[in-house]
């Protein structure tokens, strides 16, 4: 018997049809309803759940009341249990609380239906402790934790539950500053990471080596960095799973979203703010290791504001080491990596070609430009 948690944010996506950019916040939602928006998410949930029918007999679905999952389970005749009830219009607290209960009840997998906001709520509840599958229904989908379509997400969940031998990776939960978004400004931010299963694409280049998977790449990059670390130098390890791999291989604790400082392969301080960094560095040499985070290829300026212009001026451009699995570079489709520290002159100065470390002993030359 497999236990899955099902969380539907029934209002996700309602804003889209009526020209609103998201439904976060009660006022926006009311406006959407006034404009005649209909619930999209429940139907999408059904599309995905249908894919689980072959293993129906072996499933117990923990879910929330009415259109937050209960109705959909009933409609398809799934064995289910309502573990969370809410009479109000769904707000973020429902997602958060339901996810927490499901984790406690030992869910093998949480399937959630929504958009970036929903992913954020799930992250806040379970962080990266439970494997999740996202069914896309929101207006904003920037976080790569979602399947491309409800059907594909359903298939992924089925494969994960059936054989359990899919690979697991941590994907970014990225969301946009909603206020700015409604003013037509796109600004994403990295909020955390969710664990998602993925199917390795069978890329059959049988004449040449296949590229390493993302996790193996990160490990390879980490080994390269460690093997080339200099003594008595501060290393600032920026946020992200790729930089985290360095710390993991040194068997050091680390803050996934923060800046950690190490020297001679031991911790100096975890999760530093700008002041910590400046204080620790003093007048000594430091090297900064960063990786693109927060979507859209940002190296600086998305979710790593601790690495301020002052910090960078102290470190100096030559001491910035950029690392990234090649798969992330491929996603850029040739667009440059971006920086936006807020200091125009500094940003200009930081532009140019960088060696991006993509594997052990493997670099690519890549362009870095000023973002906004």
């Amino acid at each position: 018997m497999k236990i899955i948690g099902l969380i539907i944010n029934p209002i996700a996506g309602m804003g889209g049809r009526v020209g609103l950019k998201g439904t976060d916040g009660i006022e926006t939602l009311n406006k959407a309803i006034q404009l005649g928006a209909i619930k999209e998410a429940p139907n999408k949930a059904i599309k995905a759940l249908r894919k689980l029918e072959p293993i129906k007999e072996k499933l117990l679905i923990l879910t929330s009341s009415s259109d937050m999952g209960e109705n959909q389970c009933k409609a398809l005749g799934f064995n289910h249990e309502v573990v969370y009830k809410s009479n109000k219009i769904t707000v973020f607290l429902d997602t958060l609380n339901a996810a927490k209960i499901m984790e406690k009840r030992g869910a093998d997998l949480i399937i959630f239906v929504g958009g970036d906001g929903t992913a954020r709520d799930i992250y806040n509840a379970v962080e990266n402790r439970v494997v999740t599958v996202g069914i896309p229904a929101g207006v904003k989908i920037q976080s790569p934790v979602y399947g491309n379509t409800p059907e594909l997400a359903g298939e992924l969940a089925l494969m994960y539950l059936k054989d359990g031998n899919l690979h697991i990776k941590e994907e970014e939960v990225v969301d946009i500053d909603e206020e700015a978004f409604r003013n037509n400004q796109v600004r994403t931010k990295l909020f955390g990471y969710l664990k998602v299963p993925y199917k390795k694409e069978w890329l059959q280049n049988k004449k040449a080596p296949t590229p390493l998977g993302e996790e193996e790449s990160q490990k390879a990059i980490g080994l390269d960095i460690i093997d080339n670390m200099l003594e008595d130098i501060y290393y600032l390890i920026g946020p992200g799973t790729t930089t985290k791999a360095i710390m993991d291989q040194l068997n050091l604790p680390n803050s996934l979203l923060g800046v950690d400082i190490i020297k001679n392969k031991t911790i100096v301080k975890l999760d530093c703010n700008e002041k910590d960094i400046l204080d620790i560095l003093g007048n000594s040499v430091g090297k900064l290791i960063i990786t693109p985070t927060g979507g859209q290829g940002y190296l600086l300026g998305r979710g790593n504001q601790q690495i301020s212009p002052k910090v960078i001026e102290k470190i100096k451009k030559d001491n910035i080491i950029v690392i990234s699995p090649n798969s992330k570079i491929v996603e850029l489709k040739g667009n440059p990596l971006l920086i936006y520290t807020g200091d125009e002159a500094l940003d200009k100065n930081l532009e140019g070609y960088y060696r991006i470390k993509i594997g052990y002993g493997m670099d690519i030359m890549y362009k870095v430009s000023v973002g906004h």
């Binding site: 890329l203 059959q204 590229p211």
Partner: protein, 520 residues
């Protein structure tokens, strides 16, 4: 009778499907496939069975568990399996782009299959092998003219071994200059063949890859930023796997030369450049040709091939030993190469492949080689134009940049519209007796197809290929299910690959299969 109407737009094809057992299942105790000579009675009388003289711990206990099968059944088995293989001779071979699968003239095989080739031992006295040495030497001379290089070694057995040999020469070159430790980087480009990065990595080099600019050409500014006193060499293909030629190549190689590095040219596929442009004028110090690609020798399901490695005068002494030389009277093997990297392959590499390449060149001459390059390009440009008439298929970077002999396409839009991927297309195209192989690394281009017609298909062949691809695109929009479940008319159905990555379940040999699938 009535005229038989044949108006099907695409080929009504079905590949052979014999459903042959595994060879071990054909075993019948006591059957023999071939008889082996026995020692004469006088010998047996003198030395006995011989085997009892071998220490018992070195003798095999019992016989190896090989099958016992009569000759006809062995023959039938393998003939059936051959029919279940889509060789270049039986299909319009366009879909294995970068591999230059062209027509391999039968006469060349015939010439190489005589005892004057097959029954030569590699250590025979030179007076008894003047013929094959002459062929190797003359092929060397012709390769020199084709590339502008000064000496060739035919020792490497394929492209990756040739690239490894180039990297070995690079290492030895800098070692003898006392710069081995300092120069630890090799630069390549993103659309050069993946072996251009992999083989130097084996020789301990760090690899720096140059991305393309918006025109699909290696970004010169990025290249400039990468070249330094740590640069050992530049290993590159041109045109690259996209079919795009880098017109500034001389600026690239000049920069490397100035920085003290060596320029290595991956000309595995030189098909579009014969008689048009050469390694020498582009500033290269070394290059190699895959004889089993450009020079029309058979691929043999993956070898034996030959990666003919050419170098400039100054690098002659670094080549693997020995070289074939001519003293004006006799051909001989010259082992006196003082900086040689040693050897990369036994004896003289694959001389039978060199012989076939020699025959190929001699059937074409300078005018024929030029025609090869021109028609390989013409066929390619024609294929691009016609294929792109289908909305949704395109070539990345500038569409109007003329490709040389091959092109990488993207069907991303079709995939977006229909969900049919290039992998799906590869499976479906088999139902029409064709290939589209699934190798397009490094996957910067989504939903890629890499197509290389070479000079050997006719216009009719090209038209059939184009029609078939378009037909499948139509299916993607109208009847995608037929693609999802493809292949239908191939030898077997979709393989369940789940066991292949699991050490508990994978079965690399029959004995392991019998063990792991045993029912209790």
């Amino acid at each position: 009778m009535k005229r038989i109407v044949r108006n099907s737009k695409v080929r009504d094809f079905h590949q052979a499907r014999w459903n042959e057992p595994i060879i071990f299942e054909l075993s019948r105790k006591g059957e023999r496939g071939v008889l082996v000579p026995k020692a004469e009675a006088d010998i047996v009388k003198q030395v006995g069975d011989g085997l009892s003289k071998i220490p018992s711990k070195m003798r095999r206990n019992g016989l190896p568990n090989l099958p016992e099968i009569n000759q006809k059944r062995v023959l039938m088995h393998y003939l059936r399996l051959s029919q279940e293989t889509l060789g270049g001779d039986v299909n319009i071979e366009i879909g294995q782009g970068t591999c230059t699968v062209k027509y391999n003239p039968k006469i060349n095989d015939k010439i190489a299959n005589t005892e004057k080739m097959t029954a030569l031992h590699p250590l025979q006295d030179k007076s008894t092998v003047q013929g094959i040495l002459e062929i190797i030497y003359k092929t060397d001379l012709m390769m020199r003219e084709i590339s502008g290089m000064n000496y060739f070694s035919f020792q490497p057995g394929g492209g990756s071994q040739a690239t490894m040999s180039m990297a070995s020469i690079v290492r030895m070159y800098h070692r003898l200059r006392g710069e081995e430790d300092k120069r630890d980087e090799i630069i390549t480009t993103v659309y050069s063949h993946p072996s251009d990065a992999a083989a130097p990595a084996l020789k301990g080099y760090k690899i720096i890859t140059i991305m393309t600019d918006e025109n699909g050409q290696p970004d010169y500014e990025a290249f400039k930023a990468a070249v330094s006193e740590r640069t050992a060499a530049f290993v590159v293909a041109n045109p690259e796997d996209t079919g795009i030629f880098n017109p500034r190549i001389k600026e690239f190689t000049d920069l490397i030369t100035k920085a003290g590095g060596l320029n290595c040219y991956d000309q595995a596929n030189a098909n579009g450049l014969f008689g048009i442009a050469r390694a020498k004028e582009a500033g290269f110090h070394m290059c190699y040709f895959n004889l089993h690609k450009s020079f029309g020798t058979p691929h043999g399901c993956g070898g034996p091939g030959s990666g003919a490695l050419g170098v400039i005068e100054e690098l002659r002494d670094y080549l693997p030993k020995p070289l074939v030389e001519f003293d004006g009277d006799k051909y001989f093997l010259d082992y006196d190469l003082k900086n040689s990297i040693g050897k990369v392959k036994s004896f003289q590499g694959s001389p039978q492949v060199v012989l076939k390449a020699y025959a190929w060149i001699m059937s074409l001459g300078a005018e024929g080689l030029y025609e090869v390059a021109k028609i390989a390009s013409l066929n390619n440009i024609y294929l691009i134009k016609k294929l792109l008439e289908y909305k949704g298929l395109t070539v990345p970077y500038k569409v109007d940049t003329q490709r040389i002999e091959q092109a990488r396409y993207t069907m991303e839009e079709i995939t977006k519209d229909t969900g049919i991927t290039s992998g799906d297309l590869a499976r479906r195209v088999m139902d029409f007796g064709m290939h589209i192989w699934s190798s397009h690394h490094p996957y910067y281009i989504p939903e890629p197809l890499t197509l290389e017609p070479t000079e050997t298909p006719s216009k009719d062949d090209l038209d059939e290929y184009i029609k078939t691809i378009h037909h499948i695109f139509d299916e993607a929009y109208e009847n995608p299910e037929i693609i999802h479940n493809a292949p239908h008319n191939s030898t077997i159905h979709q393989v369940d690959e789940t066991s292949l990555d699991d050490s508990e379940k994978w079965c690399p040999t029959w004995r392991v299969y019998l063990r792991k699938t045993k029912e209790d």
